[in-house]
């Protein structure tokens, strides 16, 4: 039983990272109907930036805020300069451009920071390990009822819940949130209500990338280093979470991420022999496939996935 709760806690905190990536995907999807394949790589770029800020001696929470600002700028600029003009052509063109952005950002990370994992004393990193947002020394944990809760994992879960709550307030209690929901619901009527839809879309992309940046920093912290391949699988988990929750439902994205985190941890824990660490990704793959085949709108979405 203790083992069960242990895996539940670990799964929830792991899943909360997927929730962040999924949230970013959902915010963009709701506004524009596009799937941003570069979401993970935008987050990775921010994670590298936060490493760099750490090298410069900036405290980790300030570095995180700066990293989110970088993410916002990258996301907003991508929307304005690339996605908006190309989306007049075809959905396929948007797909190719986000894939190009994916490749470009990954290359840019390598070009700036090299292709070895960081921090790395071999290239003169001052930091011992990737900056962690929460205490993560070996003895930083509670142990209520025999369940080990590491401060770092609990902190990450709390952070994600706080971000979710803030987003909920933004969407439902602010004028700009109303505008975002209006644009997601009916872009033309939003224009006729006097909403600056272009601004809303730009900010949506920026916001999505800023949230993704938190995900990137958290995952790099858990991993204790950042490397070029870090986000490939995280992106697939995040996509699986968004698919499961429904591509147009923020709350679905958060719950989807948590569910996938838990399922993944349970599956690799209880079926160690068959799934273990090596085959965890197949869980995400099956989730995507099954949901798209049998309930394309996901658990909380409205059915309009198919766009003709």
């Amino acid at each position: 039983m203790e083992l069960f709760f242990q895996r539940l806690i670990d799964g929830l905190s792991q899943g909360s990272v997927y929730s962040l990536i999924a949230l970013g995907l959902v915010i963009i999807y709701r506004g524009t109907g596009h799937l941003n394949f570069a979401q993970g790589e935008m987050a990775l770029f921010c994670a590298y930036c936060v490493y760099q800020f750490g090298e410069w001696g900036i405290p980790v929470w300030i570095a995180l805020v700066l990293g989110m600002a970088v993410g916002f700028a990258v996301g907003a600029a991508s929307e304005v300069t690339l996605v908006r003009p190309i989306s007049k052509k075809s959905p396929f063109a948007v797909f190719v451009v986000t894939l190009g952005l994916f490749t470009f950002l990954n290359w840019l990370d390598g070009a700036i920071w090299g292709n070895q994992q960081l921090p790395n004393s071999g290239v003169g990193s001052k930091q011992q390990s990737y900056p962690s947002l929460f205490p993560n020394a070996p003895d930083d944990f509670w142990q209520p009822f025999g369940v080990t809760i590491r401060y770092e994992r609990a902190g990450i879960l709390a952070l994600v819940l706080v971000i979710t709550a803030l987003l909920f307030l933004l969407f439902n209690k602010t004028k700009f949130g109303l505008a975002m929901r209006a644009v997601a619901s009916n872009t033309e009527s939003a224009k006729l209500a006097g909403i600056r839809t272009n601004t809303v879309l730009m900010v949506s992309w920026g916001l999505a990338a800023a949230i993704g940046a938190v995900g990137g920093v958290v995952i790099a912290g858990l991993n204790s280093n950042v490397n070029l391949g870090l986000m490939f699988t995280v992106f697939i988990y995040g996509s699986a979470a968004a698919t499961l929750g429904g591509f147009d439902s923020p709350i679905g994205a958060v719950l989807g991420g948590l569910i996938i985190g838990v399922v993944e941890n349970m599956a690799s824990g209880y079926a160690q022999e068959w799934i273990g660490q090596d085959m965890k990704l197949s869980v995400a793959f099956m989730v995507i496939l099954v949901v798209l085949l049998f309930k394309p709108s996901g658990l909380f979405g409205t059915a309009k996935v198919e766009r003709v």
Binding site: G100, L101, G114, A240, D278, F285, I288, L292, L293
Partner: protein, 404 residues
Amino acid sequence: MKSLATIREGGAANWAFRIAATVVVFALVLYVPTKTGAGTIQTAIEALVLMGAAMSLNLLLGYTGQISIGHSAFLGMGAYTTGILVSRYGWSPWYTFPVAFVLSFALGVIVSFPASRIKGVYLALVTLALALVFPQVVTWKKLSWLTGGGSGLPTKDAQVADTGFNIGAASRGQMQYFEIFGWNPLGDLRKPDNKAAFWYWIAVGVVVIIYLVCRGLVKSRVGRSMVAIRDNETAAAVMGVNLVATKAFVFGISAGLCALPGCVTAIKTGGVSPEGIQSLTVRGAITFLIVMVVGGAGSLWGPIIGAAVYVYVTDITGGWASDEAIPGVLRPFFGWAKIPPSDGIFAVLLIVLMFVAPRGLVGVWRQYSPRIVRVLPRPAGTTGAAPVAIAATITNTHSEGEHE
């Protein structure tokens, strides 16, 4: 549009141009193995493998409009089929090609059934997941009795130590000469240059086969159904195209063809593992897609041009991580980068082409070449050209229509 010269299709000048182009292609293909060394030949093999993979992807994406970022898995099917059959069961590599095609065809058909219900970028998502899962499956410890697990093939207990036609090795069964009815065109295969040339000709053969299959398919009835699905699925269904069957068939052919360059890679590398062969991973799948779109999706020569340009640029700039290797003029532009610039160059090229020339480099050529030489279509009813021939030309132009 003004052009410098105008020639008639089928006229002497037109034929001269066609013959010249053919001669150039043949000369290039012959030049590499005979006049260059093993290093260049190996690079050319990489280009050929990429051509094969991109051409098979083109069949699916360029002509049928089904997005796949999972073709690395099909290439991997080929590589692992060859690796397993040769190193575990002692097969001759020759016989592994048809087996790889059939197995990968089957996998493609299986993938196509969910794919026929999942559209657009969601299909991209599913196939991307496939590309990420494939390396995990082949390195899975439960399958290591077959695939060799994380360290790949061949394993220590392999019956044959080297999958690469076992040439140049001093062990039993080694192949020293490649003879056709007593004629030995390549010389002693234990020499690195000759060995590389041997693999090269296999790769050329694979690419020619894939080209011919693509060409045949695209110009057939099935090809028109494919283009119809790409341009408007609903309209295609109304016109009587069987969507599920056509997609399953194209998925199967595309996957099966993509396995063949995988076999070549296994033979050339002499070992198979996701770490050893980047084309088996998601990076490979993305590369196929970039190569295809940059070259020109939905045109037969697009992937060929794209792969050639890609490998050429990657090869030239491969050493550019260190500043000294960069030619002086370009040093200020690329000197700061810690890794070679080719991925960045192609990512930018991909995005720019999407804006200015969505039909890729081949599209650019088709758009601007008439400004230099314009080929007038053969006028109807002259020089005894039968109406059938003209109809065929029109159909060809249609089925070769590019992706929008």
